[in-house]
């Protein structure tokens, strides 16, 4: 074992001695599994990009760890009684990285760019939909921003805070070139962008004039004081190599350790493992238009034949909690009623399948090897359904094709995963809707769609909770999908790193983290 460790150490030191030249001692080095796509928030992005950009840019509001919303650049948020007018008084102590103070005009400027079609902001459509339509951004004075909606929306603030929308981050106009194209972010975040060497690393520098909020760090909100001078995101695509790099002391945070490496890592002196469930969802989709699966008894049979706890245990090596509810277990909206996982019942499954007229014809389940979990879910499901006499055939295709078939609803069954949805309405919305206009939606139940829309307008949490419970009960009746679990993020840090925390969104946060050698 020791030999192995030293080998890995050598390996990793070779791997990283050149990636991290001298002087990196006072820096926090975090593994990034792939390069970021751009620095243009919410435009050309992926999870890595979002995770990097939230160190640099901040929005008016920000996400707390439990997916609720807290003010960030705004002092507070005042919502009018009719739910149509949002007033954001701005904090006065905030400065951009270039030293300029934050003004309402900056907010208006940024929002205008986001809302322009040419910008290709990912969330432009979400702010111009039937549920949420932002009609105006006004600046009554230099320290106040007012936004107006067409109708009340429970989602509006959540959407403003969405990391994949770049948190609608407010940037200084110096971020743009003269022609209006994106140059580099000049934001208000605790770090400013340093050197970005494509394919190798992205470096952030502490923003000395950062105006931190009081209190504790909480999600993307709260106290975000930078504690280290520099943060280097080192790009190491290979999992084994990043583990080796961590052991060799060449990175300080392994934010996404493989489950199967955890026992070994836990056993090492000084290593701490931080785990928290994320807001994503692994799920099996069923096409309710399919001749075989149209019959709800058939779908129920399938759900009964699956041993969900066993399946989840096998796929996640016991680290995730099985849950049949689409709302993640970490969410404040995940109620005890949603925690019920019906037991496996092979006899009932066989009987239901029989009644549905199933005679052993093959049912194809689409999956991909891009995400091992999808593949494993499909393989295990095939195995488990076989016990109930249901003949599943694996159709392993590549991810791009699977995504397109998902979009078109072109499948019988599909092992799939939804990325984090931060609002419970969105957790249902991701698979609920009319197939006629949105073929990707698995659950086409008009009643439920009405409930869903109501939940989006409803701002009272208690009433929303009961709506979601009702929807969950109906979901378990209709079984258009079998939700399985939300994955768990495991980060590992050595003893000299303090204050690192994982949270529901799986990209790392460097503020509040100290390096003490």
């Amino acid at each position: 074992m020791r030999l192995r460790a030293s080998i890995l150490a050598i390996t990793a030191s070779l791997a990283l001695s050149m990636a991290a030249p001298a002087g990196a001692q006072d820096a926090l080095r975090i593994r990034l599994n792939a390069d970021i796509r751009s620095t243009d928030p919410g435009v050309n992005r992926d999870a890595n990009t979002d995770g990097l950009m939230w160190h640099v840019l901040e929005g008016l509001v920000a996400l707390r760890a439990d997916a609720t919303i807290a003010p960030m650049l705004a002092e507070r948020v005042d919502v009018s009684a009719d739910g149509l007018t949002y007033t954001f008084p701005l904090r006065r102590d905030v400065r951009f990285h270039n030293g300029q103070p934050l003004t309402a005009a900056d907010v208006a400027f940024a929002m205008e760019r986001y809302r322009k079609r040419e910008t290709n902001w990912r969330c432009r459509g979400d702010f111009d939909s039937d549920v949420t339509r932002l009609t105006a951004v006004e600046t009554p004075d230099p320290h106040t921003v007012v936004m107006r909606l067409e109708q009340p929306s429970a989602l509006f603030l959540t959407m403003l805070a969405r990391p994949d929308c770049g948190q609608a981050g407010i940037f200084h106009r110096d971020s743009l070139n003269a022609d209006g194209s994106w140059r580099a972010p000049v934001g208000t975040g605790p770090f400013r962008l340093g050197e970005w060497r494509r394919g190798q690393f992205v470096e952030l520098e502490r923003f000395a004039a950062y105006a931190a909020l009081a209190g504790e760090p909480d999600g993307l909100a709260g106290n975000k004081t930078p504690m280290v001078d520099r943060v280097r995101f080192t790009i190491i695509p290979d999992d084994a190599a990043s583990r080796a790099a961590l052991l060799a002391g060449n990175i300080d945070v392994l934010p996404d350790a493989r489950t199967r490496d955890l026992p070994d890592l836990r056993a090492r002196p000084g290593m701490s493992v931080h785990s928290s469930p994320s807001f994503d969802l692994q799920i099996i989709l069923m096409q309710t238009n399919d001749p075989v699966l149209r019959d709800v008894r058939m779908r129920r049979a399938m759900a009964l034949a699956l041993d969900v706890p066993e399946l989840v245990r096998a796929v996640t090596e016991g680290s995730s909690r099985p849950s049949r509810a689409p709302i993640p277990v970490g969410s404040g909206f995940h109620t005890p009623a949603m925690s019920v996982v019906p037991p496996r019942d092979l006899a009932a499954a066989r009987r239901l399948a029989q009644e549905a007229g199933y005679r052993g014809q093959p049912i194809r389940i689409v999956t991909t090897r891009r995400y091992e979990a999808f593949y494993e879910i499909a393989v295990l499901a095939q195995d488990m359904l076989r016990d109930a006499g249901i003949n599943l055939e694996l159709e392993v295709i590549e991810w791009a094709t699977q995504l397109q078939r998902y979009t078109r609803g072109d499948y019988q069954m599909m092992a799939f995963g939804f990325s984090a949805r931060l609002d419970p309405s969105l957790s249902f919305e991701m698979f609920t809707g009319p197939k006629a206009t949105q073929p990707r939606k698995a659950w086409d139940n008009p009643e439920m769609q009405a409930l869903l829309e109501a939940s989006m307008r409803e701002t009272d949490p208690a009433r929303r909770r009961s709506t979601f419970e009702a929807m969950f009960r109906q979901l378990m009746e209709d079984v258009p999908v079998v939700a399985l679990y939300s994955s768990v993020t495991h980060a590992v840090t050595p003893a000299h790193v303090q204050g690192y925390r994982t949270w529901a969104v799986d990209a790392p946060r460097a503020w509040g983290v100290r390096v003490q050698r």
């Binding site: 192995r4 999992d239 393989v379 694996l394 392993v396 590549e398 094709t401």
Partner: protein, 269 residues
């Protein structure tokens, strides 16, 4: 001189692989696709000769199943490549002129195409299946066949017996079929042997990249690919399929040398 040991060793190796495939058609120690989560990555034992993989499937059974897949895919692909290649090569070599030029351009294009792109494209269009692989690799290798056939047609048509046939008043078609075609057989047979090896290699490479015969069907290539993350924990998972591929290829190459020695057209003169 080296003919005899080549024949012996090559025949034995290839015979072994074929015997494995033949056995797998009727019997394997375990169901090669049946998973067993309680027995993942088990070390070799009397029950599991080569242990189990990450889904608890029996590695020995999967290797045997892989032999069936690899051999059948390779054999069908060789047929596709030969049919296409011989047709294109004969037409190009004998008709010459514009036909040859156009076919030549298409051939060059195909040669400049990495097989992987062709395979992906066809697999995506045809849906993932072993027939997609067969067609894709068949198309990818047809130009090499065409090139060999065309080359040998061009050299044969300069031989005097072809001119003699023309002097007799025989039609071009008759001359092509009666006097030219049979002479392309030797190089084509030699090439087909090499092709067989290349295709086994390409199929496993494609599977390794995740583009090959789709899982859970066992192929040596996708077994290798899925064994990679467990290389340090279960090295046998990585070693066994490679040994199979190498055995098969060595057999093919040795027999190919024997065939070449027997059929080499250079020895005709």
């Amino acid at each position: 001189m080296r003919l005899r040991p080549n024949l012996l060793i090559g025949g034995t190796l290839l015979g072994l692989v074929f015997a494995m495939a033949g056995t797998a058609l009727v019997w394997t120690p375990h169901d090669p696709v049946r998973t067993n989560l309680r027995r993942r990555l088990v070390a070799p034992s009397r029950d599991y000769w080569l242990g189990t993989d990450e889904f608890g499937r029996d590695v020995a059974s999967r290797l045997m199943e892989g032999a069936v897949t690899s051999l059948s895919v390779a054999a069908s692909t060789v047929v596709v490549a030969l049919v296409l290649g011989v047709a294109i090569g004969l037409a190009g070599g004998f008709l010459r002129g514009w036909t040859d030029r156009i076919l030549g351009a298409v051939n060059d294009t195909l040669l400049a195409f990495p097989g992987i792109l062709l395979a992906l494209g066809l697999l995506a269009v045809l849906g993932p299946s072993r027939w997609g692989i067969v067609l894709a690799l068949g198309l990818a290798y047809a130009p090499s066949v065409a090139r060999v056939v065309r080359g040998s047609v061009l050299s044969i048509r300069e031989r005097e017996f072809v001119e003699a046939s023309r002097a007799l008043g025989n039609s071009e078609r008759y001359t092509l079929l009666r006097h030219v075609l049979p002479h392309t057989a030797a190089p084509v047979i030699v090439l087909a042997t090499s092709l067989f090896g290349w295709i086994i290699l390409s199929e496993s490479a494609l599977s390794f990249l995740g583009l090959g015969v789709p899982p859970p069907a066992a192929t040596w290539g996708n077994m290798l690919a899925s064994a990679r993350p467990f290389m340090d924990k279960a090295p046998l998972l990585s070693i066994a399929p490679g040994v199979m591929i190498a055995t098969c290829l060595l057999g093919v190459n040795l027999l190919g040398d024997v065939l070449r020695d027997l059929l080499d057209p250079r020895d005709e003169a």
